[in-house]
Amino acid sequence: MDAGISSQSTHAIAVFENSARAIVGGQYVRAANAGDIVGGVQPQIVVEPGTEQELAQILKLANDGDLAVIPRGGGSKAAWGNPPQRAEVVLSTARLNAFVEYAWSDLTVTVEAGCTVKQLRETLAQVGQRLALDPLWPSRATVGGVLSSNDSGSLRLRFGSLRDLIIGVTLALPDGTLAKSGGKVVKNVAGYDLPKLATGALGTLGIITRATFRLHPMPQETCTVSCLMRDVGEAQRLLLAVQSSKLAHSALQIRFVTSMPPQMDVLFEATQAGLAAQVEQLKAILAPSAVIEPGPAVWNARQELHSAARDNASNSALAKISILPAQIAETYETLLAITANRVHFQAVVQATGVGCVYLEGAPTEFGHALQSLRAKLEAAGGSLMVAHRPTNMAALDAWGDPGDALPLMRAVKQQFDPKSTLNPGRFVGGI
């Protein structure tokens, strides 16, 4: 921080630190370092509570001391959202990683927020089950982080996104309340659906301390079929043809690289008996184009673009886009026109219309390109979220226009976090 911190907040942090040590133990409170920077802002202190109750107490302590809190899981998507207006305390869920209850025969699991997706997957796989979700960087990403950032991949086509998989949540609020909602059963309409409210809220309403999910069986057999498209028009036409067919595919994506023909991938998950017939039907739809069976690696395409942006931090940007499935071709044409050969881009779009666009080139070009693309998408009912931006790119709000519901969103924020303690300024409309 250039101007240093005021003596008042130094005092507040010192008071907080002492009390925090008493709550979680000295070894779980440390001074923040450069690795803890969020959106260019340096926090002061990192706390790792060991229980939900400790986490709620620490959050209340910070809130009482007017210290801003950055909730953190694995930190894999810490760059998402706008830079925080303030950031004093990083509250890590790293130690909250227990399996609370795994009712495998009821196909539900309750885990603490700091449990990684990989850890969850491995345990579920032991009894042939899974959380039907393919989020980014599963070995680092935690349940709480994935939920807060609403990260989902190609399996969403069949199984829905997190909002369709989460059935219960416990939230810690800035006033120290620990509140649960939803439940442990898949079917339940008692009370407001706060699991959905917490999903995608980027930790601005409360910190998720545990969540319950509905699970799915692992597929007996899987098969990926890929096909090169002549052009974007054909890709669009065939995507809609597959979508309106009676195939029971689990995922479908189109991969675009500038100046290359687009490629379409379709994933089937079925029994041995059902698989062959479906693959034949798909081939009939795609004919006369030749198909290959490239194996499951093609489903890493979305993560590869995100990783490329992370690893090529200063010369690339990455945006998550959401459009209607029938708008893919026109969105691609828009991208071509906007980037006009000055920026190299790649995109992966799923049949749900959700995907990502990776830009590479001179960062000075990105701001304008993303802004133009966002304006076009929003005009057509879609949206664009900037997930990664290089430091010398022109400032651009991460989220775009939330529409006429923004005052209502602010009212919700006011009810849950009246002092704007949690992730201040990182969410839509300055929330």
Partner: protein
């Protein structure tokens, strides 16, 4: 109601859009939970979003509570009027505004009947998946309010899975748009919160729905078991085998008898009937159906039939969907419960219900969505016999307690409404409920939209949730907090 306000409201909806005469109001004094009845001050029948907004603005200005109502088929008293308020009935807003097949979306007004959505896209082989038993009469707006389920939500999900966007009139008359045709709109998922909020957060005036392509093939298996225990074990084995059927339904002997008497579905006379529906690609369904058949026989099913044609399937479902209404054949009165349990707790919960039924001398028929553990125990009684109604109500409440104790829920699809609001405190702690009320306060700080429902107690939105203080009546042992 003040004559000036009546005139103002009449000017908004026109002379045939306002009902104030006592005999006509009687139609609206309850929903399908008929043991609660309240006469409203008036009923308004708006025809447009603008009219809804204008009505709500008047209500907001005059602090008149309002209750939105669709077809009135709800089973929890969600559309029960408030004595000091009006009912806003959305049945005249029944246009399907847009059908977008390439993107599989339909935009509808709240008064559109659930089954009419499917009716409009059937020719193109799409359907609207949530299928509450009342789907031929219930409205989409009501489905949104209650987050309605149905037999096929085991595979296809609930109303909330299929609602992508909403146009809402907030309780102060402001119009807002939540979600949209595209997924993952920027900001909080307020559409997700609104669905299932039972009319307490405002009135939906437009709904963006997802429609689904019809599967290549559908097969329904009917299996007769000696008792619900064997049938329940078969369900567990089906799930353990890694299958996700479109629906798994169970009926016990009493409900089979009632359904037979009412619609002659040609069900076998047995202790428990299991209905398993599989859909998807032909080869897949055929293979899995063989597995289901085997599993049923291994668990003691003595008769297994597979309905192949649409006519056979329709007959099989007719008995199940008519089960509630059919209770009239075997009992003058009944209470429907809607508790949910983890599926594996089924045998234990069934024997507990049986025990309670014996002790109370009240018969209980059981119909349930066995795949997701949603029980619909039907507590049968005769109002004319002294004490039976009270015994039935007590038993019905105990069943909910059993569900909660088993780790389940007090309601799977009918909603809390007026009926189960006191049971909310059994399922949720005070901080849990206070936290939900924060959402209420953000949407409706004056608590005008369907007040008195869903929560055991209202919360003043200005007040900070504080420590619970024991009321003097409680301390004296005169009153009890539920």
């Amino acid at each position: 109601m003040d004559a000036r306000i009546v005139e103002e409201l009449r000017a908004i909806v026109g002379p045939d859009g306002l009902i104030t005469s006592a005999e006509e109001l009687r139609t609206y004094d309850s929903d399908a939970l008929t043991n609660f009845r309240v006469m409203p001050l008036g009923v308004l029948l708006p025809e447009s979003t603008q009219q809804v907004q204008a009505i709500v603005r008047v209500c907001h200005r005059e602090r008149i509570p309002f209750v939105a109502r669709g077809s009135g088929t709800g089973l929890s008293g969600g559309a029960l009027p408030v004595e000091t308020g009006v009912v806003i009935c959305l049945t005249r807003m029944n246009r399907i505004l847009e059908i977008d097949l390439p993107n599989a979306r339909v935009v509808a007004e709240p008064g559109v009947i659930n089954l009419d959505i499917t009716g409009r896209v059937m020719a193109e082989e799409y359907f609207y998946a949530p299928d509450p038993s009342s789907q031929s009469v219930c409205s989409i707006g009501g489905n949104v309010a209650e987050n309605s389920g149905g037999a096929h939500c085991l595979k296809y999900g609930f109303t909330t899975t299929h609602v992508l966007g909403l146009e809402i009139v907030l309780p102060d008359g402001t119009l807002v748009h939540l979600g949209g045709k595209a997924l993952d709109a920027a900001g909080y998922d307020l559409a997700g919160v609104f669905v299932g909020s039972e009319g307490t957060l405002g009135i939906a005036t437009k709904v963006i729905l997802r429609i689904v392509k019809r599967p290549e093939c559908v097969q329904t298996l009917l299996a007769a078991f000696p008792s619900t225990n064997e049938a329940g074990a078969a369900v567990s084995d089906i799930i353990a085998a890694g299958m996700l059927p479109a629906a798994i339904e169970m009926m016990d002997r009493l409900s089979i008898q009632a359904a037979e008497a009412a619609v002659h579905a040609n069900y076998p006379d047995c202790g428990a009937l299991l209905l398993v529906e599989l859909d998807g690609p032909v080869a897949e369904v055929q293979y899995l159906m063989t597995q289901v058949n085997k599993i049923c026989r291994n668990n003691g099913a003595w008769e297994v039939r597979v309905a192949q044609s649409d006519v056979e399937r329709a007959l099989v479902w007719k008995g199940r969907k008519a089960a509630f209404a059919a209770m009239g054949r075997i009992s003058p009165n009944y209470i429907v419960q809607d508790g949910v349990i983890p599926r594996t707790a089924l045998p234990q919960v069934m024997s507990q219900i049986e025990q309670l039924s014996k002790e109370a001398g009240v018969r209980v028929a059981n119909v349930f969505h066995a795949g997701d553990g949603n029980l619909h125990p039907l507590v049968l009684y005769d109002r004319r016999i002294d004490g039976q109604e009270a015994a039935a109500e007590a038993l019905s409440y105990k069943i909910l307690e059993i569900c909660i104790a088993a780790g389940g829920s007090i309601t799977g699809e009918h909603g809390v409404g007026e009926d189960k609001k006191m049971a909310m405190s059994k399922m949720f702690s005070e901080p849990d409920l206070e936290t939900m009320q924060r959402v209420r306060c953000a949407f409706d700080p004056l608590q005008l939209s369907n007040p008195t429902k869903l929560f055991p107690r209202p919360r003043l939105c200005g007040e900070q949730p504080g420590k619970y203080v024991v009321h003097p009546l409680e301390a004296a042992g005169i009153a009890e907090r539920f």
